[in-house]
């Protein structure tokens, strides 16, 4: 672990200012960042501890949805009655990930920003374009049975490891960020990105931006949904492949279908073909 400056702002404005340095990193639950620092994968010049920011609320959103503060923990979110009632798909996706201990510490914003679990990314003695742009990709031709099968590039076949994000993709959440140029909202489908020639960038946030909350739209898919995760053991393993599926039924027919895949690409993978095939169909084969 390198030596770093530690700051603990108590307003979002101060945090954004502290994050303006290129090598600054925000620390929330620390469940991923601290590991990355121990493995010498990330060597921040400054760690900005955002745990004192007022971002721990789950509140009604103006359009009837919910806004979830970036520091709401995964456990709080999964067990919040508003989530279990209106967005049970999200709750079950969260509970399919990690362990209770990790979920107690990990946060909503942090979950979106967790890095890939590619073995080579975590081993600085190997080449990795995501860790060290231009160094090559050791996973191609190497140990890669957990890697991407969709949307990979010549430079990176890593996958995004989150379960929660697969449900958020299906639910069409919005990510609210704040940076030196002010606030903006990013549709979930535009938040994570494919590796292309710049696999070092997991998402479309700009330098110095901070996730302050995510918004779940009012349309909730509360009744017909499933999160199915296939993994190498029955708990505490990243997905080989997972699917978040949600349906809106009308008169026994599928009106709208949402299908998102996890563990298969550099971002949660919406499958419009599957959604289209299911939508406006009787639902039974």
């Amino acid at each position: 672990m390198n030596r770093f400056e530690y700051v603990r702002p108590d307003t979002v404005a101060h945090a954004v200012k502290a994050l303006a340095d290129r090598d600054a990193r925000a620390l929330a639950g620390g469940t991923n960042l601290v590991d990355l620092m121990k493995y010498e994968v990330t060597r921040p010049s400054r760690v900005v501890d955002i745990n004192h920011l007022p971002l721990r609320q789950i509140e009604p959103a103006p359009d009837g949805g919910l806004t979830i503060g970036a520091l709401v923990t995964n456990s709080e979110l999964a067990w919040d009655p508003r989530i279990t009632k209106r967005y049970p798909l999200l709750a079950s996706a969260i509970l399919a990930g990690a362990s209770p201990q990790l979920r107690n510490a990990a946060t909503t914003g942090g979950n979106l920003l967790q890095r890939t679990r590619c073995y080579y990314f975590y081993d600085p003695s190997t080449a990795c374009n995501k860790r060290e742009p231009g160094s090559g990709c050791s996973a191609i031709g190497g140990v890669n049975r957990i890697h991407a099968i969709l949307g990979a590039s010549d430079g990176c076949i890593a996958v995004h490891p989150s379960d929660m994000c697969v449900a958020l993709a299906a639910l069409e959440a919005v990510v609210n960020v704040e940076g030196k140029d002010g606030k903006r909202s990013i549709p979930f489908s535009a938040f994570h990105r494919l590796p292309g020639s710049e696999p070092q960038h997991d998402n479309t946030m700009l330098q110095g931006e901070l996730i302050t909350s995510i918004t779940l739209p009012a349309s909730d898919f509360g009744s017909n949904h499933t999160y199915l995760k296939v993994r190498d053991r029955l708990s505490y393993a990243f997905a080989l492949v997972s699917v978040a599926a949600a349906l809106k039924l009308e008169g026994g027919e599928i009106r709208t279908a949402r299908v998102a895949l996890g563990g298969v690409a550099h971002k949660p993978w919406r499958d419009p073909d599957a959604e289209q095939a299911l939508s406006n169909s009787p639902g039974a084969p």
Binding site: N2, R117, Y122, S125, G142, V143, V230, D232, R233, L234
Partner: protein, 747 residues
């Protein structure tokens, strides 16, 4: 001691060290404080073969708090001969000498040691050391070296080589009506006990060392350190009071021990070196093995030929060996048997013993082949095993001291409900899950090693029993306390055990499931010697009520010594000691195998393992819904700790069946899943119902206590039972362990 005299032995006593452990008071090797302690961090090689051209240490040296950086160019003085580096457990070859030369023979090999005033400074500086290397070709792939496999020219002490062929195995195979040859593979599994390897070397003025080490044998470490550094054994004391799991990984001294002692002697300061979880993957492991198993039988299922040929990996520098194929010659009755065992050298660290070394993997493939034979014959797989029951050891021609395996089959099957099994695969289903039932036999040798113990009885009726044993988790502290209490008729609270210290009476390393039998019998012998001395002293007293008694008529209980047949004729222990002007009686005892008996008998622990799996056919997800493990292990000293041993073994067996595997990038020669997130062992969700049965087994030959040992047996057979259940559920036979989703879907 008869069962009637046993108040504590045989009862489910909770661990006497349990409270210390769960409250954090039990100290482990990396937790002992020392004045002015220095901290070491190991720098590991990142290539699998080559030479170090230069180690760039300038940036690391500039880090505040760094005291010294040791490399092969400035490592301290150490022995030059291989023999001086060979510990009690070492296989033939050239033992690893950390920082000895510029040669790199495996990824993860220690190449430097950073010593600093704080653990953080050492760790951060270690990350700045850069090795400039000349890379040489390497091979980490067993299949690539299989054709160059060789029979190890020098045998490893304590490991029987495969027995010579008997009968006409090839001819019998050729002529048999039912036969097949199958290829199996069990991938390498890595040791990951909860406690990582660490040594705290306390340097005392005058050069004496007290070393707190994570080891399964304090005296093995003591003699290794004395021999490697040319020290007097009396000046090296090794302590391992508590060991946070080991499973064989702590049988041999690990590199952090050498490094801590080397730095301590060079700097004349106390030094601690602890390995990281990643570095645990560069130590010993269960070797990757290929197996060809050929079975032949008549139409009724009587075995006519067994051939088992195996190739196992070893390192460039040592010929690690384990009894991998021998089981195939002794588990079933068969007159025509041929076994072979070869090694292939790879650029990896030397493998090491891992829970039931050789049996966990070797028995697994034989038991899968037996299941395949039962399927070929269309007979019940349990019936096939009973039909070929071996009532003597075919490898040696010797008798078993006991073998209640038939009771394991019977009681295990009854508890499992085996009679309700539909024979054909894919016959049982529950919703979207296919259900399969599988069975396997398990076996492990029951050893009695030479061990010594001391018993100290004081005039206030307090007993201390001591031996340089270790407790790597099975409950050694507890069973020695129970044995001592029963031997001298004392309540448990009056007895204390002392173990985990090289200054105590001689003990072998804790391994092979022999500690309960060996050290337990030694404690019993020492207590018996105390009783004898007490009796002699009592007889010498004026007007002794025991003057005309013989030792056999005497019992010691409730703080007194008296005649069994006349409790009124007794004396208190205090009055006997005071009359002799004693405050304590101290005696030593020993246990060792009887060489005469060994000419005629062999001893094995046996088990029958039954597994139910549920397989989601579309997704390939396997759940082990329940396991019944019935074990015959002689006398059970403590059903509670004994059950825990079996539970742990079964869980490791589930891991062998479904999860554990080092994933190696053979281009780089590197293990890539070197952490607990990616190296999978069963999580809680993977472990469902496990029922443990101990069948009655009386054995008056295996050890003075009639104990066989339980550390290993739980893992043996479990993986095969699960694999056989998967076949029964799906009709798919995966012969490559672990059985992961991709292999099952592709089968």
């Amino acid at each position: 001691m008869s069962s009637a005299e046993m108040l504590h032995v045989g009862r489910p006593i909770s661990r006497v060290d349990g409270r210390l452990k769960v409250t954090g008071q039990a100290k482990y090797a990396a937790e002992y404080p020392a004045a002015d302690l220095l901290h070491g961090c190991v720098v590991s090689s990142t290539i699998a073969a080559g030479r170090i051209i230069r180690l760039h240490t300038d940036r690391a040296r500039a880090m505040p708090g760094v005291v010294e950086i040791f490399t092969h160019e400035n490592s301290g003085k150490a022995a030059r001969q291989d023999e001086d580096w060979r510990d009690d457990i070492a296989p033939p070859g050239h033992p690893l000498r950390p920082l000895h030369s510029d040669r790199i023979q495996f990824d993860g090999q220690p190449i430097a040691l950073v010593i600093a005033e704080s653990v953080e400074a050492a760790r951060d500086a270690a990350a700045l050391v850069r090795a400039e290397c000349a890379i040489e070709p390497h091979c980490t792939q067993l299949e690539a070296k299989r054709s160059q496999a060789y029979v190890p020219p020098e045998k490893r002490s304590g490991i029987p080589p495969p027995s010579d062929p008997r009968g006409e195995p090839e001819q019998a195979f050729a002529q048999a009506p039912i036969k097949f040859s199958r290829e199996y593979r069990v991938h390498a599994e890595h040791h990951n006990p909860m406690e990582m390897f660490a040594s705290t070397c306390v340097f005392e003025p005058g050069g004496k060392l007290t070393i707190y080490d994570k080891t399964q044998g304090s005296q093995n470490v003591q003699s290794y350190v004395a021999s490697v550094f040319g020290l007097k054994p009396a000046n090296v004391r090794v302590i391992n009071h508590y060991v946070g799991g080991a499973f064989g990984s702590g049988l041999r001294p690990q590199p952090q021990l050498f490094l801590a002692v080397m730095a301590s002697l060079a700097l004349k300061r106390s030094v601690r070196v602890a390995l990281t979880r990643t570095q645990m993957f560069y130590l010993g492991y269960r070797p990757d093995t290929f197996h060809t198993v050929s079975l032949a039988s008549d139409h009724q299922g009587t075995l006519l030929s067994i051939m088992h040929d195996a190739v196992a990996e070893t390192s460039q520098y040592e010929d690690y060996q384990e009894a991998l194929v021998n089981w195939s010659g002794l588990m079933y009755r068969c007159d025509n048997v041929k076994l072979s065992y070869q090694l292939a050298k790879l650029n990896k660290a030397t493998p090491c013993d891992m829970r039931a070394p050789g049996a966990a993997n070797g028995v697994t493939v034989l038991e899968c082949a037996m299941d395949e034979l039962a399927h070929e014959l269309d007979i019940d797989p349990l019936e096939l095993r009973k039909l070929n029951f071996a009532s003597m050891d075919g490898n040696t021609g010797k008798q078993f001291t006991s073998k209640a395996l038939d009771a394991c089959y019977r009681e295990g099957a009854a508890a499992f409900g085996w009679s309700g099994r539909r024979r054909e695969p894919r016959a049982m289903r529950d919703g979207h899950e296919l259900i399969g039932w599988g069975v396997s036999t398990g076996t492990w040798e029951a050893f009695l090693q030479t061990a010594s113990a001391r018993a100290r009885l004081t005039d206030d009726c307090k007993l201390e029993v001591s031996t340089a044993a270790s407790d790597i988790g099975p409950g050694t502290w507890t069973i020695l306390t129970q044995i001592g209490a029963d031997a001298l008729g004392l309540p448990l609270e009056a007895v204390s055990a002392r173990i985990g210290d090289s200054t105590l009476p001689a003990s072998p390393v804790e391994g092979g499931s022999w500690t309960a039998a060996s050290n337990g019998s030694a404690v019993q012998a020492a207590c018996e010697a105390v009783k004898h001395t007490l009796f002699k002293r009592a007889q010498r007293m004026a007007n002794s009520p025991l003057a005309d008694a013989s030792f056999e008529h005497i019992e010691v209980k409730s703080g007194g010594i008296g005649r069994k047949d006349d409790p009124r004729r007794s004396l208190s222990i205090a009055e006997v000691m005071h009359a002799a002007d004693l405050t304590e009686i101290v005696e030593d005892g020993q246990a060792s195998a009887d060489p005469e008996q060994a000419k005629r008998y062999v001893s094995y622990t046996n088990s029958a393992v039954f597994a139910e799996v549920r397989v989601d056919e579309e997704l390939g997800i396997v759940r082990v819904a329940r396991i019944v493990c019935a074990t015959a292990a002689g006398r059970i000293l403590n059903p509670k700790t004994a059950r825990s041993q079996i539970l742990g073994g079964v869980v490791m067996g589930i891991g062998m069946a479904l999860h554990e595997e080092a994933m190696i990038d053979h281009r780089l020669g590197k293990i890539m899943n070197h952490n607990f997130a990616e190296y999978h062992v069963p999580a809680h969700a993977d472990v469902d119902d496990i029922e443990v049965i101990f069948v009655d087994e009386h054995d008056d030959k295996v050890s003075p206590l009639g104990v066989k040992g339980l550390g290993e047996i739980g893992i043996v057979g479990t993986a095969a039972a699960v694999a056989n259940a998967i076949f029964h559920a799906t009709g798919k036979r995966v012969r490559d362990f672990p059985i992961t989703i991709d292999k099952l879907l592709a089968a």
